[in-house]
Symmetry: C2
Subunit: 233 residues, 2 copies
């Protein structure tokens, strides 16, 4: 197992971005201590390590913090480069394509689905669902272009984990809001990819929480602050 | 001069992100054809090359498009790695730090200053100016931490161009809206850095438009569509 050094990850149970950082560490077989932060009562270590955003995930390597999930994945891939297959593609053009789609996913996917639960009206919610469907259609097209089981080839790589870390939220939201966000009849390649990704022993199994954790999270949020309750079913 | 291959950059005169891509190409001494797009009447080549966003910049290398300015900079650094000093730092921890700040700048700086000119009310404008000041204060702190003339050392590198490509907009807006966005009395390190960056022969001189180009751009926009006029002075 790689990474006998001093590696700590500050995460939070339902944070897809913390799950992404864990997926990268798992893919490289890095031994690390996982610290689950209470985001309602952040630790001094988190506040000191990520003073700009005060958010998880933060990877602490030999006492020095790395913040931003995409930067963490690249860092893990570079520091433990010999510890396992490269997470990013190794050819510059394919790396650039993967980074393009990662930026797209990062900028669009989370805001769209997070917007579904924040929507104040049904019209707003329908708009956010439409945005989600658009993002997934674009990813469907990327899979169609690649013609491979995963985004950049025959095994799980960078874009797979960047998208895949959100799947448990999509599953939870499908139940909570009665909208099928991953729909084999509309985006069959994406649906088949999601199934394959969920079965991956290294990246997916073990670090992906069940969709029920997201449902619980919102239940607790509503109990703590009923006035701000989401309109989840 | 590096890059005898087939390299084309689709840009637009006042796009800071196109300027960023050009800075990377200049730093590596890559020979490229620059194509100035009319964003009101986009070329078939642009629409075909960036079907997802339909935006500049797009770098076309041997007929294959690379989109998203940060992905373009990394691509240029990787493809022409032997053509000049590395644009990104070469040490993983410093690369991660540079990527963190690049993501921060990309996510915060442009939306803040673009918001200044889109603001419908004085209150909204003041809020966007406040956001800008916050971003620049954070970058001031990053410079203070680094204790170097540029963000990652003694010469212009990744984060310098990621931030520096916006300076001509900040200069234009200072005049247009009467707010000093780069203010030596409040953020002396950032102001001194901006001056040093502007004097850099390779990254800055030659590819950075004058602030007057931004002023002209908004004048033309108002003439073409007076109803949507900005509140610029």
């Amino acid at each position: 197992m790689a990474g006998e050094g001093d590696v700590k990850l500050l995460g939070a149970a339902v944070s897809p971005f913390a799950v992404l950082a864990r997926m990268a560490l798992e893919m490289k077989g890095v031994r690390y201590e996982y610290v689950d932060e209470d985001m309602g009562n952040k630790s001094e270590l988190l506040l000191r390590s990520n003073p700009v955003h005060k958010k998880v995930p933060v990877l602490i390597h030999h006492g020095r913090p790395v913040c931003e999930s995409l930067a963490i994945v690249e860092f893990v891939d570079e520091v433990w480069d010999a510890a396992g297959p490269s997470i990013l593609p190794t050819v510059p053009y394919q790396r650039a394509t993967a980074r393009f789609w990662a930026a797209y996913t990062d900028g669009k996917l989370f805001p769209a689905y997070f917007g579904i639960q924040r929507a104040a009206t049904e019209t707003e919610r329908a708009e956010k669902v439409r945005e989600m469907v658009e993002v997934i259609s674009q990813l469907e097209a990327a899979l169609a272009n690649g013609k491979k089981p995963f985004f950049a080839g025959d095994r799980v790589g960078y874009l797979d984990i960047v998208v895949g870390c959100h799947l448990f939220w999509l599953e939870a939201f499908s139940g909570m809001f009665g909208v099928a966000l991953v729909d084999a009849s509309k985006t069959p390649l994406f649906a088949a990819w999601a199934e394959r990704f969920g079965e991956d022993e290294v990246a997916s199994k073990g670090v992906v929480p069940g969709a029920d954790k997201v449902v619980e999270y919102f239940k607790k949020k509503r109990q703590d602050n009923p006035a701000a309750g989401t309109a989840a079913k």
